[in-house]
């Protein structure tokens, strides 16, 4: 009897590689200032600024206008309420993500930054492409002391002075009180706006601190809005001096106008608007109003809900989690969230690569790939390549997983068969997108391990089995879609039979270096064949079973 050896794919050829990340970060600068132990990390593609054990800034070395943390983009949202912003104050310099993008995108805007730590300014200059100029000034002192003594009026005041480490948050309490917000209001022009970066969630983790700052803002400003980051646990609060409450259609219209007229060129500006939440946090009434006299920020941050499980949790930059760089660096939040988000933006999404299916991108941004990889290789979990997982098998390159998943056009009601479980990562991705995943692996040890990992991570709609993939899974057939992750010479007939009418199968066919990734669609019992990509998968080797 002929058996199949389902060996998982190796790397795909002819895939446009934008960057081949080394994946390992080196500490290229390390210094202790009176405020922080500061490190600059560099992995060849990205530079990261760390204060103690918290991430402050990330920047692409090739293009310093990219690679930043998502939350800094919400500092551009105030244009929706005030189209005449010309003078901006940013409290907290860090690596200067917001400063750089304001300088680049708005030629008529001048930015004043206040940074308490002179060492940070030095590092921003030396490592993060930051340049002081007429339009880009830095004041080295405490933000509140500066603002109190300043006679300047601003159209926008951005607060980004929050550090989150594993020993709790360091929210400068004097920058979160009613009295401080009054000082800020007095330094704002008529339609002035405050944007405040808070680390936390609307419910659960740090909800008390988010609620308290929200509530405190409402005592000083007529309107407060909230933006929730998709890739991290940051919340950006927007408080306006304007009295009227904006509504979503008006904001959308204005956003389109700003983009169409070319006044806003920030990529993704329109998408960021969908993160807005108009309703205040549900716990608002239970949160205290923070005053100079009573601002228990440590107690609020410590007393909140526990951090979420590592599977669903995203991390929080600017005081956030670290990429998997160095065993000395540990953080409280999921250290893989940032590299995972970067994987999605750099390796999968346009313009670098062409995965456009939002659900697929979301699943890729959600499933913890590192959990499917041997411990010693976890630091490379999100690099742009396949990795060995033992038994001469590999976990595929993220792009190939996303590409095949996208081509399969998964629907929430689908039942999908996978041949070649391997690590279980592809099954987990599918699990996020379809109703049921049936997956077969011929190496018993791998099948067992994948089953254990999938169940540990809570993927209850995946049904793994050890066995011969060539014959498919007749009892569970027919399937809406079949995905094969090893290359046979021709399409196994049992799989064709188990495919539903109208069903899709994606499968690499050929041998050695001459393989094609093929998409098959079953119409009236006949397979329509479309070649997708030249690829190189490990062959589906046939062995004789005793």
């Amino acid at each position: 009897m002929i058996a199949l050896r389902a060996i998982l794919l190796a790397t795909a050829l002819a895939v446009p590689a934008r960057s081949a990340s080394g994946g390992i970060s080196r500490v290229i600068h390390e210094v202790t200032s009176p405020y922080h132990h500061i490190r600059v990390l560099d992995d060849g593609n990205f530079r990261t600024l760390c204060f103690d054990d918290a991430l402050e800034t990330s920047m692409s070395i090739q293009n310093p206008l990219t690679g930043h943390y998502e939350y800094t983009e919400y500092f551009h949202m105030p244009w929706l309420w005030n189209t005449n912003i010309s003078k901006v104050l940013i409290i907290g310099l860090g690596g200067g993500s917001a400063q750089r993008s304001f300088e680049h995108y708005y030629p008529r805007v001048t930015v004043d930054s206040v940074e308490i730590d002179p060492t940070v300014l030095q590092i921003a200059n030396d490592y993060f492409n930051f340049r002081e100029s007429e339009r880009q000034k830095v004041h080295l002192e405490d933000g509140r002391v500066y603002l109190r003594r300043s006679t300047a009026q601003y159209d926008l005041i951005v607060l980004d002075a929050y550090v989150q480490g594993r020993y709790g948050s360091c929210l400068p309490q004097h920058l979160a009180t009613q009295e401080f917000f009054q000082i800020a209001r007095d330094h704002l022009t008529t339609n002035g706006i405050v944007a405040y970066n808070v680390i936390g969630n609307v419910t659960g983790w740090h909800a008390e601190i988010v609620g308290a700052i929200y509530r405190t803002l409402t005592t000083v400003f007529p309107q407060v809005y909230l933006f929730r980051c998709n890739t991290s646990q940051n919340i950006v609060l927007i408080a306006t001096k304007a009295r009227g409450r904006a509504e979503i259609n008006g904001l959308r219209q204005r956003a389109h106008l700003l983009v169409q007229s070319g006044r806003i060129e920030l990529p993704g500006f329109l998408d960021r608007l969908s993160s807005i939440q108009f309703a205040p946090p549900a716990n608002l009434a239970r949160c205290p109003i923070l005053t100079d006299d009573f601002a228990p920020v440590e107690g609020l941050a410590g007393g909140g809900g526990k951090t979420e499980s590592s599977r669903s949790r995203a991390n929080s930059p600017a005081g956030s989690a670290l990429p998997p760089v160095d065993s000395r660096l540990r953080v409280e939040t999921d250290p893989f969230a940032t590299p995972r988000a970067r994987m999605v933006t750099d390796q999968l999404a346009p313009p670098g690569r062409g995965i456009t299916n939002a659900q697929v991108l979301h699943a890729m941004g959600k499933v913890p790939r590192q959990e499917f990889i041997p411990a010693q290789l976890r630091s490379q979990a999100y690099q742009d390549s396949p990795l060995p997982i033992g038994f001469n098998q590999t976990i595929s390159q993220p792009y190939i997983v996303a590409f095949m998943t996208e081509q399969l056009r998964p629907r929430p009601t689908d039942r999908v068969l996978e041949i070649g479980t391997g690590s279980g990562y592809q099954a987990a991705i599918l699990s996020e997108l379809v109703a049921q995943v049936y997956t077969i692996e011929i190496v018993p040890e791998l099948a067992r391990r994948a089953a254990a990992d999938l169940s540990r991570l809570g993927y209850t709609n995946v049904f793994p089995r050890a066995g011969d993939g060539y014959n498919g899974w007749p009892e569970a057939s027919p399937f809406d879609a079949i995905i094969v992750t090893c290359a046979p010479d021709k399409v196994p007939q049992p799989l064709v039979e188990q495919l539903k009418e109208g069903g899709r199968m994606i499968i690499p066919i050929g041998s050695g270096f001459d393989q094609q990734l093929v998409l098959l669609t079953k119409r009236a019992g006949i397979l329509e064949r479309r070649a997708m990509l030249p690829v190189r998968f490990v062959p589906m080797t046939r062995a004789l079973k005793p």
Binding site: R148, S150, F180, G299, L300
Partner: protein, 217 residues
């Protein structure tokens, strides 16, 4: 007996000093920011207060030799702390606003302003509270042969009080009680210490001193 009373007194004194130091740093932040200089100032000023208080307390102990003498120091200190929320803001406001608005504060004053603010607000009460230890060593010791043990016990009690003050202030009070109320509570405690000194003044003399072990000759 005298030693136990003395230890209680200095324990509370040490407690109040450290609550003032920790909570005071938070209080200064709203005007001087959360700069490193604020913490340096606060620690420096409290240490100055301790040095002055130890010296003065020892000298006064030798001169007055009565428990009631402390009440004359503790009442004004308590009064200062009780009323601190009413005058400290004004005083610190004066320090900050004396620099012209549109000029950067000179680097020297960036460092010295928090020292000045901290000293004006916290130095006097802390000096008074620091006098307790040497003063009580003097009162609780009647035999030169006991000085080592007596002073060791009292200084240790005061330090244990300080340790308690640090953790209670930093981990409990900050999260639960308004800053102004913390200052008022510490002021109240200081006044109570003063009353205690008055009440026990006469009793003190009647209390048995620690047993004297006569050195064999």
């Amino acid at each position: 007996m005298r030693r136990t009373l003395a230890a209680t007194l200095v324990f509370i004194g040490g407690f109040i000093i450290m609550v003032l130091e920790i909570v005071g740093a938070r209080f200064l932040a709203k005007d001087f920011g959360s700069s490193f200089h604020v913490w340096v100032s606060q620690i420096g000023v409290v240490l100055i207060a301790l040095a002055v208080g130890y010296y003065v307390g020892g000298a006064l102990g030798d001169r007055w030799q009565r428990l009631s003498g402390l009440a004359f120091l503790l009442f004004p200190a308590g009064g200062l702390l009780l009323s601190l929320p009413n005058w400290a803001d004004w005083l610190i406001g004066w320090i900050v606003t004396r620099h012209p608005e549109e000029q950067a504060i000179p680097p020297l004053w960036q460092k010295l302003d928090p020292v000045l603010g901290s000293a004006l607000v916290f130095l006097l009460p802390c000096v008074v509270l620091a006098t307790l230890s040497p003063y009580m060593i003097r009162l609780a010791t009647h035999n030169i042969a006991q000085v080592g043990r007596s002073s060791g016990f009292i200084i240790a009690s005061s330090t244990v009080g300080s340790i308690a003050g640090v953790f209670v202030a930093g981990f409990l009070l900050i999260d639960r009680v308004r800053l102004s109320d913390i200052f008022r509570i510490m002021g109240g405690l200081t006044v109570i210490l003063g009353i205690f000194c008055l009440v026990f003044d006469r009793l003190w003399l009647a209390l048995p001193a620690a047993r004297v072990t006569q050195p064999k000759t």
